[in-house]
Symmetry: C2
Subunit: 650 residues, 2 copies
């Protein structure tokens, strides 16, 4: 991959960038003061704390997310618990399937993620041009073009291999732990959920949720009712989720505790192909990287209007297409660079167990392309499994315009006999019989007519058995016709899912640059909308006459809910501005001796360092408009007189 | 306790209130659809999901909290991880001391919280007037006045007993499990933290944080640096915390996963008694319930200005006093009733292990007085213990106006000998020696001069020992004089800590009432500031001509970021308004045929049901002012013509 360029076209300098983020406390590793002394905290990687600017940036991104999605589209926001009982996640498939493939290096006692191991080893071989890695590389045979091509193809579809396939690749290409060159054991699945127990008896297993989605599915009935039954509708949720990653790396890009914002858009499967606001967005062009291109071992994107993409079936339907555009607009609005976004389609084996199609919005960073938003079609998977597990119908009922006649198998139990015969078990048997579907009933009907008795699987009964025998006397199954006035269906779900930490980090890379003369003078060109603090107020010195003016100015801005910060430290104004360029503060106001005389102040814009001077009144009004977006800096700097009297940026 | 009155002076009707909250999905028990079928979810009580109105109310309370505290006082907000390594919480004292006393009823296999058990049994005996509870009560001897008085005294100071004392009370008063009347085992401590492990080896124990405070303490150095060293300063954090309560009860009032908002105000211990904004608040009167009153077995509050309270030492200092007033103002602003707030001082044994004084803001609910905000003086406890455990100085350094001469013990190691002799252990030994304090050094100095060798406790060394012998050759300790230009101190911490869920629930009780004619027509008089949705838009019918008007109106309000909801369902306008009274929506706009003719709409106010009619333009502007607080309904209804043409509230 070519080296990433920064905002101004120069090379992106990660060490300077990281030093800035750390120095200005955007974020830092959690429990930092414990890490130097306690070696065992090595197990606690992948956990980060946000300092004041990171925390404010995160809050502003979330705020805009709420405006852009929840308020604009009237979504129903919910806040569900992180702690989730095992039974719920067993049903959803997470207990059995939410795992990564892990290899142990027995010599080092280290655990490695199988796909990442292969990636790093093959990439290193390609970079060095030999058939081995590490110290052996120099002595090893040269990499021939055919093998190099094979490696590139493996890398392009690395997300498509399952555990045994990864194991085979490791064997075939003699892939070893780069740290010590030891052979690794075959991949085994490692469940990514954190486990705990709840209650004083410690008998009830729970997990920390790996996604916010399940809480939304479990509340489907209440949400449908809250929306007075109208379809389609969307719920949304913002909150922490947890994944016990095997080997966290790349800072904020792979962490174990993270903030997610997820939407579940519930839609009638019969009409899910269309979306009533699709015409508004159909001409928007997006950069796509589809499945077929990746499987051919390539990673070139092509730009296409979403209208065209849906028409040609590249994107399955309008609903999915509408959300891809809305996601794109959100990312651009908060400051992501246009040419560092792409939409990549998931490969078959890469998809989560619940998804039937998925497009990721990926952002280009110095670590490569990073999945920041997933947009998955979960079909009716989740609602169906929870409905089946609980016996609760999670369906929409709609009056049919024309009633239809239905022929179906119907089962009935002789309750007069059932109660006395099975006592406490009767309820469980009823539930089991009610949950039988049409296929089950068809089979059982013929069994019953053949043998006059059937066996039905149940929860564990008093005699310890997991099924019950029911005779003809107790149970009848017959085919009946009925007129159906209601249409009943389980909605499909389209799920745009945002990893806020990944977006935040990638955004910071995109807006970072440095003044041309000085690599140490970094700037974060965050849009006003998301900048942690909007205004810096700097008194020229700590002269007493400035204090009341500064105080009044700060409180006037606060009254408009414009966050501001006073820097009355004794360093030069230039240094104080430089500090705030690093913090991404878009505007600066200087209070000087002229302010005391005539009430005028200067206003500086971060990116251009240009300044204007006007009355405090006019400057406050200009800031108000700049912050609410009703005026741009270009307009303000034309309208108000330029200030060049005293350069403060030196 | 006398029955609680509702907002309009009538009796508070909890069943109606709860039915409203459930029906309108303010919140519901988590995993509700699993609770009916899966009996083992009984262990998963104390977990709640917020539906759309509850979630919006919560977001608005948090938003106002951020404005009132973080922005107004320039606090540094941080967002730290929930997952916390055991070593951190071992240091903070939570692993050893963060526990409640629990009694097991061996017959039922039930676990009971000891203090709650005593409370419920004694309260029941007082209510029934007998010396026994449950079925036995009727056959039992009457409760004499002396015993009743004793019971009341126990109840008044129930928070002051430790485990053995609770055990003694249970024996002495023959207190049994009300469910089955079985005797319970003596109280044992039960740690309230959820435990898990991190990383693939499962070797590293972690806990879910029980408070957000520790993350703030661990980041103290970075925060001090971010604020360019100026003192005092405050950090703040909003996030989930977790407590594995023994027996959750009372809905949102005792839950296992909850949202907290916490402030850590770091202050110089020498000047902590004063606060520079105290004069602004000194005349504010607050209702106090102090320690002495409670220990005398009473619960009467007295009203006093905070200035007087600090002067008379009822409240220890200005800083604490200032925060009590700020807390009070916040609660009133979001809609809490004035006469349902009190400030109660903690009793000695009730205080958390880290606190040296604590006042709770309690709110009166139908469950009694509930602790909703704690305001604790944690002194220098946390910073000191973390500093000691990590060897990291967590101190403020200030230039002294006049240097002072200090005489102190100084220890030095002969590093030339230390390295070769102890190899890998040398670093551990250095750390151990550096962490010795003046008292240790004084003792060791005399030991060293007596015996020429000393023993210093260390982390475990290569030979398995937990200490090391150091001879005179390796180590010297002597008294030295030095001139000190810097003053170094560990700040004290004052911590206002808000339980958002408890505040939200109590607030809902305070704002609930019903229209005089009809107990089923509930109203939530939430202030505009926190109301989940600000405006309901109702078209008179589903006539096609209303649709574009409604759409435009909704989008105009959205442009001002005013949340609104369109109800175009086919029920009567009165019913649609009634639904939104229950949701606490303060304003309603009706679009009717007159709107189509002349562009005028009506505006209805929730509490009075009064209406005005004016042009769409004027109504939108009125709403904008009502929402940003620049105008009241009284002003709007005087300014704009009343609408009485068509009563929509029937």
């Amino acid at each position: 991959m070519a080296a990433m360029k920064n905002k101004t076209g120069g090379p992106f300098n990660r060490p300077h960038f990281e030093s800035l983020l750390k120095r200005r406390f955007f974020f830092a590793e959690s429990f930092e003061i414990y890490r130097t002394s306690a070696a065992h905290l090595a197990d606690n990687r992948g956990l980060y704390d946000y300092g004041p600017p990171g925390c404010a940036l995160q809050a502003n991104i979330i705020n805009e997310w709420r405006n852009h999605f929840v308020i604009e589209e009237n979504m129903m926001e919910v806040d569900c618990t992180v702690i989730t009982p095992e039974t719920v996640l067993k049903t959803s498939g997470h207990v059995d399937k939410f795992a990564d493939w892990m290899c142990k290096d027995p010599a080092k006692g280290e655990f490695l993620r199988a796909d990442h191991l292969i990636e790093s080893v093959l990439e290193a071989r390609l970079a060095k041009g030999t058939l081995a890695t590490g110290e052996k590389a120099s002595k090893s045979a040269k990499l021939d073009e055919e093998t190099a091509k094979e490696y590139r193809e493996i890398l392009a579809k690395i997300d498509n291999y399952d555990g045994p396939e990864l194991g085979a690749l490791i064997k075939q290409h003699d892939i070893r732990n780069p740290d010590g060159n030891g052979e690794v054991l075959p991949p085994t699945p490692f469940n990514l959920m954190f486990k705990s127990t709840i209650g004083p008896s410690a008998a009830a297993p729970v997990y920390l949720r790996p996604e916010t989605a399940q809480g939304q599915f479990l509340n489907f009935r209440r949400l449908l009712e809250f929306g007075q039954g109208s379809m389609p509708f969307a719920s949304a949720s913002i909150g922490k989720s947890y994944r016990n990653e095997i080997a966290p790396r790349s800072g904020l890009l792979r962490v174990r505790e993270f903030l997610m914002a997820e939407i579940e858009h519930f839609v009638d499967p019969d009409t899910s192909k269309s979306h009533d606001r699709f015409p508004e967005v159909s001409s928007v062009e997006l950069p796509f990287l589809d499945k077929a291109t990746q499987l051919s071992g390539k990673t070139t994107t092509r730009s296409l209007s979403i209208g065209e993409a849906v028409k040609t079936k590249l994107v399955d339907n309008e609903t999915l297409g509408y959300f891809l555009v809305r996601i794109y607009h959100f990312l651009i609005k908060i400051g992501v660079e246009k040419d560092k976004v792409r939409f990549r389609q998931h490969l078959e084996n890469e998809m989560a167990h619940y998804a039937c199609d998925c497009w990721d919005a990926e952002l280009l960073t110095s670590y490569g392309w990073i999945e920041c938003v997933g947009c998955a079609d979960r079909s009716a998977y989740d609602l169906s499994v929870h409905s089946k597990a609980t016996g609760t119908p999670l369906v929409v009922k709609e009056l049919r315009s024309e009633p239809i006649e239905i022929e179906e198998w119907q089962v009935s139990l002789n309750k007069k006999l059932l109660g006395p015969k099975f006592k406490k078990d009767a309820k469980k048997i009823e539930t089991a019989v009610e949950s039988l579907d049409q296929n089950d009933l068809e089979k059982l009907a013929s069994e019953l007519s053949d043998k006059a008795v059937i066996s039905v699987p149940t929860e564990q009964l008093a005699d310890g058995k997991m099924s019950v025998e029911l005779s003809e006397e107790l149970c009848t199954i017959k085919k009946v016709k009925r007129v159906e006035n209601l249409r009943e269906y389980t909605p499909n779900v389209v799920e745009p899912s945002f990893g806020i930490g990944r977006i935040l980090y990638s955004l910071l890379e995109h807006v970072y640059w440095h003044r041309s003369q000085d690599v140490a003078r970094g700037v974060l060109s965050l849009p006003v909308l998301v900048a942690p603090t909007k205004v810096l107020i700097v008194p020229l010195s700590n002269h007493a006459s400035f204090q009341p003016i500064v105080k009044k100015l700060a409180s006037r801005l606060r009254a408009f809910r414009i966050s501001n910060n006073v820097d009355a430290s004794s360093t030069s104004i230039g240094k104080r501005y430089a500090r705030n360029d690093e913090l991404g503060t878009p505007f600066g106001v200087t209070v000087d001796f002229e302010t005391v005389q005539n009430g005028s102040v200067t206003l500086r814009e971060r990116d251009s360092t240009a300044q204007v001077r006007a009355s405090e009144e006019d400057i406050v009004e200009a800031i108000r408009r700049l912050v609410d977006g009703s005026e741009t800096w270009a307009q303000v700097s034309q309208r108000l007189p330029a200030f060049t009297g005293q350069s403060t940026d030196e």
